[in-house]
């Protein structure tokens, strides 16, 4: 049937709008009389603002106002009003609250003018006198200040130890005990954060905000500014990348609304690329992994401890070590996660928060253990394969990881690998093959949707979710079209609008499962209405059919047993005298059913690198990633998701690092020329395999979510391949060329390669 869209590689329904420039982003809405705000950022990390002199800026014709902590219009007093859906324990950052400086780059003034250029120039004239205090921005220097964080909603603290890990480790025949260091990273979506606030004639606000959740930003604005929900309409129909950076409201939203209300006119605030390095980041994290094994490779002890940075005002924690207790079978496990407060902004969830770092360390350590055991790294993983989640003592709802290993290894040609480091060459270069495992979370959250079917058979479905480039528009359209058997052109999905039924922020890989279930449910409600009407039609072929015996396809309703007898949906609408059918639905996960299982997507990643050992330069020649991610709604957008994750994994392994100058407590490489992410030339062959996986527990559609699993483990696979190529183990990301050739020099006699 032609209206079976689920599982089909449908091109993005919003693709044309995006490539033709029709898709408008938050900073692109132009209205008459728009004013422009430019943020002045703190030059120091800690202390107070002694004086702000804005007179030169205010003296320029066309400058409307310079807002600072001294003249900011009053906003809500209590911390609770600033808590958002993704807030972490602590006091949320409140722009312009007082003269205290909490991190370098903190917004300290907003210059608003008649033109962007004028506001930008005026911002450069604002003179700030600081009273600096000594700051601490180096996690490594704060190890003695580590503490156990308060639990964060949705993030379980590490489980208590199992067995006797320290003793088991001490008694193990083969041991690995290593520390891994990973740097701060910034999300850097292409679209900078921006908010356009339109001051409507009646004083209500229409707000275009870059966000991963319009309900979250909407609620924040209402709470902070004491507005009723109807006074604010918040929209975010297109988002130019998020990766987690837009989960929590960003300070430009506060500033734009504050200025619009203060000036009673429309205001836009757009952050600069440099300011994109001041809005939170993936935290620098130090990890110890100690693995003890018997000579046959059986894991006897697993210890994974992490220390991560957070700000002075919020306890941001991510579950770095959690999966180490779930991925392998081991009876003696100790997991620990600690924080240290630094004079930085609060870290923010970034694609696969916790797992990206945790699995890098665990899977690097597993590789180290394999070499120490003289065992194939794949065999070591199969030897310790967990058939159930030992950490939570639950069965997996489904786990096709073995099949990922099998198919991935076959596609990659893993059996042709020679085990010794430095044993594979191509021309004058060293070649290395490495692998790693990935695991992530599957979550379904409550979500709402509404749908309207017209007499002409056109369907519009909406939910206040987001599409941050993930393909939400497309897959929801597919689900809706297939549910009602309508041609996909007749179905429109709307999102990113605070007036639509509430949905969670788009994150955690849970949108497909959560919103997809709501879309399915609301379409099923329309289905039932149509069935009732259709059955009552004279000579209805469906008269005696039960609901489940009726299929919807090609714009028709028919018996599953005899599709030649049908009625068209338009006929049914006409017969029922219906100009439209409108429904809403709230989808709630079956928590009771789900809670009995451990639910995860898994992956096996294989990487090949080529290393020039004199110069340390690295080419990632290919990556094969085999994914067990439940039902694949759209292989095209799914592949893009995984591919993006793999590219990011390459960047994480080799390039990405937000470098802080400890003297200034400030990220210094704050632009895209010096903050390196992979360019086209860094990315060669990427092969994504979706392993078939059926899961009847997760949700009715069998979806596990694919937004994050692609990055998890990829960095470790590349690091492991570099070790195989060179014999150099770099435990400090990113693996830049100097670390490789310096290690290579230490690992062999100091001489240059002989002439060819």
């Amino acid at each position: 049937m032609t209206t079976n869209y689920i599982g089909q590689p449908i091109s993005r329904v919003d693709g044309r709008a995006k490539v033709t420039g029709q898709a408008k982003y938050a900073g692109e809405y132009n209205v008459p009389n728009l004013a422009y705000g430019v943020v002045v950022s703190s030059a120091i990390a800690k202390g107070r603002i002694a004086e702000i002199d804005a007179s030169a800026a205010l003296g320029l014709k066309g400058v409307l106002q310079v807002f600072t902590h001294k003249n900011a219009p009053p906003t809500a007093k209590s911390d609770q009003s600033y808590w958002d859906e993704v807030a972490v324990p602590g006091s949320p950052f409140r722009p312009f609250k007082d003269d205290k400086l909490l991190f370098s780059g903190q917004p300290i003034a907003l210059v608003v003018a008649e033109s962007f250029e004028l506001a930008r120039y005026a911002a450069s004239l604002v003179q700030v006198e600081y009273e600096p205090e000594a700051h601490a921005t180096d996690l490594n220097q704060q190890r003695d200040k580590a503490y156990k964080p308060k639990p964060r909603e949705g993030v379980a603290p590490p489980p208590p130890p199992r067995g006797n890990p320290d003793k088991a480790f001490a008694n193990s025949a083969v041991q690995i005990d290593a520390e891994y260091s990973v740097p701060a990273e910034h999300h850097n979506p292409m679209e900078p954060f921006a908010t356009t606030v339109i001051w409507e004639a009646d004083g209500r606000l229409t707000v275009y905000d870059k966000t991963q959740g319009t309900p979250n930003s909407h609620q924040y604005v209402c709470n902070v500014f004491g507005l009723s929900p109807d006074d604010v309409h918040l929209l975010s129909p297109y988002v130019g990348g998020g990766f987690g950076s837009g989960l929590r409201p960003k300070y430009q939203l506060f500033l734009a609304v504050m200025a619009a209300r203060g000036l009673k006119r429309s205001v836009r605030v757009t952050l600069t690329r440099q300011q994109m390095f001041t809005i939170g980041h993936r935290p620098r994290t130090l990890q110890r992994v100690a693995l003890g094994a018997a000579k046959d490779g059986k894991l006897e002890a697993l210890i994974h401890e992490a220390l991560a940075e957070t700000s002075q005002f919020e306890e941001y924690s991510e579950p770095v070590v959690q999966w180490s207790g779930e991925l392998y079978k081991c009876e003696n496990v100790k997991l620990d996660h600690a924080l240290a407060n630094l004079d930085i902004n609060t870290p923010v969830d970034m694609r696969a928060p916790g797992a990206t770092w945790g699995l890098y360390a665990l899977e690097s350590a597993m590789d180290e253990l394999a070499y120490k055991l003289n065992m194939d790294p794949l065999e070591l993983r199969l030897k310790n394969y967990a058939e159930k989640d030992f950490s939570n003592n639950k069965p997996f709802s489904s786990k096709e990881l073995k099949e990922c290993f099998r198919q991935g290894a076959e596609r990659f040609g893993w059996s042709k690998r020679t085990p010794e480091p430095r044993s594979m060459r191509d021309g004058g270069k060293l070649v290395g093959w490495g692998l790693a495992t990935g695991i992530w979370e599957t979550t379904q959250l409550p979500a709402g949707a509404k749908a309207v079917l017209t007499a002409e058979g056109k369907l519009t479905v909406g939910s206040a979710t987001a599409d941050i480039g993930t393909g939400t528009y497309t897959i929801m359209t597919q689900i809706a079209a297939e549910s009602l058997g309508l041609p996909i052109e007749d179905v429109t999905f709307t999102l990113g609008d605070s007036t639509l039924p509430r949905a969670p922020v788009e994150g955690g890989s849970f949108t497909a499962a959560s919103v997809g279930s709501a879309v399915k449910q609301v379409c099923d409600k329309i289905r039932e209405k149509l069935v009732t009407v259709a059955k009552a039609m004279p000579k209805s072929p469906l008269a005696n059919a039960k609901s489940e015996e009726i299929a919807f396809a090609d714009g028709r309703m028919m018996l599953t047993s005899g599709p030649s007898r049908y009625v068209s949906i338009k006929e049914v609408m006409r017969h029922g005298g219906l100009s439209s059918i409108a429904e809403t639905a709230d989808s709630t996960p079956d928590f009771e059913k789900q809670s009995k299982y451990s639910i995860h997507p898994h992956s096996a990643i294989f990487a090949e690198v080529k290393v020039d050992e004199d110069l340390g330069t690295i080419d990632v020649l290919r990556v094969v990633s085999a994914i067990a991610g439940g039902r694949i709604l759209n292989p095209k957008t799914a592949r893009s998701q995984i591919m993006g994750g793999i590219v990011w994994g390459i960047g994480m392994a080799l390039e990405e690092e937000s470098v802080i100058d400890q003297k200034f407590g400030r990220f210094m490489n704050h632009n895209l020329a010096e903050y390196h992410v992979p360019v086209n030339a860094d990315v060669q062959n990427i092969d994504v395999i979706f392993v078939e996986e059926h899961d009847s527990i997760v949700n009715p559609l069998g979806i596990k979510g694919l937004g994050e699993i692609g990055i998890v483990g990829t960095g470790a696979a590349i690091g492991n391949a570099i070790f195989h190529a060179t014999g150099v183990r770099v435990r400090d990301l990113p693996i830049t060329l100097d670390k490789v050739f310096a290690g290579a020099a230490a690992a062999r006699p100091v001489k240059l390669a002989p002439a060819a």
Partner: protein, 331 residues
Amino acid sequence: MNNFSYTRATDITSAVNEASREATAKFIAGGTNLIDLMKENVARPTRLIDINRVPLNRIEETKDGGLRLGALVTNADTAYNDQVEKRYPLLSRAILSGASAQLRNMATDGGNLLQRTRCYYFYDVATPCNKREPGTGCSAIEGFNRMHAVLGTSDQCIAVHPSDMCVALAALEAVVRVTGKNGDRAIPFSDFHRLPGDTPQIDTNLEADEIITSIDLPPKGFADHHAYLKVRDRHSYAFALVSVAAALEMDGNKIKGTRLALGGVAHKPWRSKEAEELLNGKAANSDNFQAVAETVMHGAKGFGHNTFKIDLAKRAIVRALKHAAQMEAPR
């Protein structure tokens, strides 16, 4: 970015006259660096004189058999010019290893010479920088200096010149032709850029009222034996950690003449005549190249994050010389 006035010059004389009337005026051609600097408040010109219509956009033969690159020829047009590709492939390769296709389409040859360092601190007005604001101090010396210089540094500045093109031009011994209030001058390439010394705010020996009109390539192009090796943190759109332009004149396996210039290690493309002369009459082999590398890097000083460059540069020099001598294929 400050307010500025904008005017357009259509000939050299009016461009020079206009510039000499206003000390804080700047010429703008491709704008690929200047606009960034203005957005960051690092450059604050009161006037931009657009010289894109000044007729300096041709590549033509010189009387002595060399090639003249008009100052306003784009980097892309230079790299893909038939004569450049055939006779000066070293230059072509150097240009194409820099920036991105989009930037090379806009950036001009004269502008390439005048681009400023990409030192993190130079670009961030929240931090002290002697190059940006003389006397405030150098933040890089004890700060984050991965991209910084190891040769020819001063206690005032350890910035590097970021160009790839200029490294090849130094090796080719190009001549920079300029004109100004006091007439025309020809500046040998090695004298064009400066070391930082006590005046790191001054990058070049170009006078304030002078404008580059062309870059002249001498007849000798080293098309048979050359290499441009750029070592960087990713495969494209990254400045050199170390780059090497190597050009050899050879008679069999014997070396008759050597040109060697390094990028990413100093405030200007770095040459060592002493090291180049070591190879005169010598055979092309690893030991001889290693000796050159040691001599070039003699006296190099690292500052922590960039200390690896000293060893890396030696390895890159040997590799580039081998490529130039065709002892091994570039890979």
